[in-house]
């Protein structure tokens, strides 16, 4: 099977080369036969990559340690669940996984556009095929996952214990689905530039691709934060690590694009801006990959064998040079004839939102590359830490939060001061009342706490303005159609899916803002050395160290678990089990935190150290406890963390509504096509 897997990679490479050439030839020679031949290649390339992937999965599941990659990232005792996810645990497999997603997307684009949009699709598929080709060159000649070992070891080294967490099974695929998804809008944008089809046809074709990719990238970031929170055991979820930044930047640029593209659709303007944003989003995804795989910047997330820097740097250079050149060449065609009706309009607020978002993206980019820049110019690698990002991005983020509340209240095209006054009165009033209610409860001793207080006030403002939007829309519909409140609300959302889906996404974002603010400013922690029966108090929780347990999970993993009894107001509410896991072959144990998570706050427990010499094992030899043990535990109380994760699910719900197929839009499209068919010559597309 390994031979077939490796051979399929070569076949995919050869087919992809043929695909690029034949798609371009079909377009240039305008021949259906060549196009039909080219059109077989997306499926063939996908099938080949699928065969390779199945071969690699099989090697993992059957412990085939003759493959260097399997021996490095798996072992006999690894859970099947993690054997499956070891596929993307290292550089080679993750590149194959990336290619699998890319070719799957390419095949979907091919199927979606079969026999339509033939002025754009051949070139768009050729662009996707070129990108696939880049990854196939790497897989075949630089990071082949089917590389054999001369002498297969009896057992593998195993998967990094930090990656043996369910979030790590979900997080990378979700992130990749987002990262790779932006290839589709990029490919169509390039096709539009190359073929001079610069109306908004390519935008309509890729609208949902962009939204879905944005969603996956957003969820990927959140899942990554959840993994860091429960697995890394440092009491946080985001550290502005270069690799985190790498996933954050395309998300921010894509968010800017999703907003500004609405102006192009509505007013046929901002074509250069939108084109630049969509190209920049893709550039950012490749930049992120470059960071993870170059070894240039130190991060806990980079791959061990980060040696692909030059390949990605070269690829990045080509993409940037090509994108800039194409935009400059088509500048004349991209110029729009329309202008903003008024600077007091939703369009103008979107422009401001774009500037703010790009400000966040740029500051993050600058902080990420600063170590490289400082080393190049001053010979010293200066690492930029969280204080820099917080100092710059927190105030900009607050402006962004305010804009989330302001945008929906302003009318498209033109608004007047009197209407703004009328529409902002209630949200501002709610914010003022909220500020007064919160004032006695929140400490305001430093800048961070003041920022947090302002963030809460802004969250109230945004929530109120959103709820009023729903209430007003429902009211208008009840009046117009005589519907019940529930019928009017659901009808309104269903008839304007993208608008109200977007508002729901905004509500999710507000929850995330509130969660970040609350957890960053009002957390507290304590580290205690405890003997059995010792107890201490932290923010109303009475925590008692009860005993130290020992569990042998299998031949390669042992666990030492501290049992902590948690009481509140004299009532036992929870038992915490933070632990240390010892893996065979690993020098350092891994901390596994335990959590009691509520909407109000998280009680976060880490077993920092332990002492237990007298182990008493039970008859099964797999469990036991330490007599006269002592432990060092670190306990955090972090308010509102759950708001962030809840915000993620609200975003998921909103996105689902926004991307749900719109019958009205489909009907409009069918009518338009019918009208075109009645007019055009039969030879037309």
């Amino acid at each position: 099977m390994n031979d077939i897997g490796e051979f399929a990679l070569l076949l995919a490479l050869a087919t992809a080369i043929y695909g690029v050439v034949s798609y371009v030839m079909a377009f240039r020679s305008n021949r259906v036969d060549v196009y039909m031949s080219a059109d077989k290649t997306p499926i063939i390339v996908w099938a080949c990559i699928m065969v390779s992937s199945v071969a690699l999965w099989k090697a993992f599941l059957t412990n085939d340690f003759s493959l260097q990659y399997v021996a490095a990232y798996s072992n006999i005792d690894l859970d099947v669940f993690y054997k499956f996810s070891s596929f993307w645990g290292g550089q080679k497999g993750s590149l194959l996984f990336w290619t699998l997603i890319l070719t799957t997307y390419m095949m979907v684009v091919h199927v979606q556009n079969r026999k339509q949009n033939v002025r754009l699709v051949p070139i768009a598929l050729a662009v996707m095929m070129v990108i696939t080709l880049f990854f196939l060159v790497l897989l075949n000649f630089s990071t082949n996952p089917f590389e054999r070992l001369p002498v297969p070891p009896p057992d593998g080294r195993g998967l990094n214990p930090l990656l043996q967490n369910y979030w790590m099974v979900i997080h990378p695929p979700t992130l990749y689905l987002g990262y790779v998804g932006f290839t589709v809008p990029f490919a169509f944008a390039v096709a539009a530039l190359l073929t001079k089809n610069l109306d908004d046809g390519w935008i309509r074709l890729t609208r949902k691709w962009t939204l879905v990719s944005w969603f996956f990238l957003c969820m990927g970031n959140l899942f990554g934060a959840q993994w860091a929170y429960v697995e890394l055991g440092w009491g946080g979820y985001w550290a502005w690590d270069p690799v985190e930044n790498a996933a954050f930047m395309p998300l921010i640029v894509a968010t800017a694009y999703l907003h500004s593209v609405m102006i192009q659709e509505k007013k046929d303007m901002m074509k250069v801006w939108n084109m630049s944003l969509v190209l920049l989003t893709f550039v950012m995804t490749i930049f992120g990959t470059f960071i993870t795989r170059s070894g240039l910047i130190q991060s806990v997330h980079t791959f061990d064998e980060a040696t692909l820097g030059y390949y990605f740097l070269g690829f990045l250079g080509v993409i940037v040079a090509f994108s800039v050149t194409m935009i400059l060449l088509r500048l004349q065609l991209l110029k729009s004839k329309n202008e903003l009706d008024s600077f007091l309009s939703r369009e103008a607020s979107f422009l401001l939102n774009n500037l703010v978002l790009l400000g966040i993206a740029f500051s993050t980019f600058w902080g990420t590359i600063f170590p490289i820049v400082s080393e190049a110019f001053r010979g010293v690698k200066i690492t930029v830490g969280p204080p820099f990002y917080n100092q710059v991005n927190v105030p900009i983020g607050m402006v962004l939060l305010a804009l989330i509340g302001i945008g929906p209240v302003i009318a498209w095209r033109r608004s007047s001061w009197s209407n703004l006054k009328k529409n902002f009165t209630k949200p501002i009033l709610a914010a003022v009342i909220g500020a007064a209610i919160l004032f006695p409860f929140v400490p305001l001793t430093d800048k961070s706490e003041i920022f947090t207080y302002i963030t809460f006030i802004l969250c109230i403002f945004v929530m109120t303005s959103m709820l009023i939007e729903f209430q007003k829309g429902t009211g208008a519909r009840m009046e117009a159609h005589g519907e019940s409140p529930v019928g009017a609300l659901s009808g309104m959302v269903w008839k304007n899916k993208s608008r109200y889906g977007g508002y729901i996404v905004h509500l999710g974002v507000v929850l995330i803002f509130a969660g970040i603010a609350g957890s960053q400013s009002y957390s507290t922690n304590v580290e205690k050395h405890l003997k059995e029966g010792d107890r201490f108090e932290l923010r109303g929780y009475d925590i008692t160290f009860e005993k130290l347990l020992w569990i042998k999970s299998n031949d390669t993993k042992e666990r030492v678990v501290a049992q902590l009894g948690i009481e509140r107001d004299g009532e036992r509410i929870f038992v915490g089990y933070p632990e240390k896991e010892f893996y065979k072959g690993q020098k350092q144990p891994i901390s596994e935190v335990d959590l009691r998570s509520t909407l109000k706050e998280d009680l976060y427990m880490i077993l920092a150290d332990f002492k237990g010499d007298n182990l008493v094992t039970k008859d099964d030899g797999k469990t036991g406890y330490f007599k006269d043990a002592s432990v060092t535990v670190k306990v955090y109380v972090m308010p509102m963390v759950k708001w962030m994760w809840t915000g993620g699910w609200v975003i998921a719900f909103g996105t689902m509504i926004a991307v749900w197929p719109d019958r009205l839009e489909a009907r409009r499209r069918t009518e338009r096509l019918k009208r075109q068919e009645a007019i055009f010559l039969p030879a037309q597309e």
């Binding site: 031979d3 077939i4 051979f7 399929a8 076949l11 087919t15 043929y18 034949s22 079909a26 305008n30 021949r31 259906v32 036969d33 060549v34 196009y35 039909m36 031949s37 080219a38 077989k40 290649t41 063939i44 033939v118 002025r119 051949p122 109306d199 908004d200 046809g201 659709e265 509505k266 046929d268 009706d341 209240v409 302003i410 009318a411 498209w412 095209r413 033109r414 608004s415 007047s416 009197s418 209407n419 009328k422 529409n423 939007e469 007003k472 829309g473 009211g475 208008a476 009046e479 117009a480 409009r668 338009r672 009208r675 075109q676 007019i679 055009f680 010559l681 030879a683 037309q684 597309e685």
Partner: protein, 109 residues
């Protein structure tokens, strides 16, 4: 020849057949797309613009109902958008006539 080699050979042949059939079968020569006609492109563009302007009118009415826009602004913008829509419809009709004429001529030829 091993089983794996044989399978590899089968794979190569299958791929060659799949991409080769459209090239070597005797398909009637057809164009993938007609040369770009600026009139037709303009027509398609106008149809999309018309939809957007009609949607903008609906949105404007909704914004007015939900108190986001004042009566004078609503009147002015409504008037402007109606004018834009009328202009687009006139252009579309003119282009339709032109294209129908072209189709007739092509049919007669």
């Amino acid at each position: 020849m091993t089983g794996a080699n044989f399978l590899q050979l089968i794979l190569v042949i299958s791929i060659l057949i799949a991409v080769g059939i459209p090239l070597f079968s005797k398909l009637p020569p057809r164009r993938l797309f007609a040369p770009l006609d600026p009139v037709e492109e303009e027509y398609k563009h106008l149809l999309v613009r018309k939809e957007e302007v009609l949607l903008a009118i609906k949105e404007l009415e909704f914004d007015f109902k939900t108190d986001k826009i004042s009566q004078p602004d609503f009147d002015a913008l409504h008037h402007k958008l109606e004018g834009e829509a009328m202009g687009l419809l006139e252009k579309i009709e003119a282009l339709e006539k032109q294209l129908k004429q072209k189709k007739k001529t092509a049919g007669a030829a």
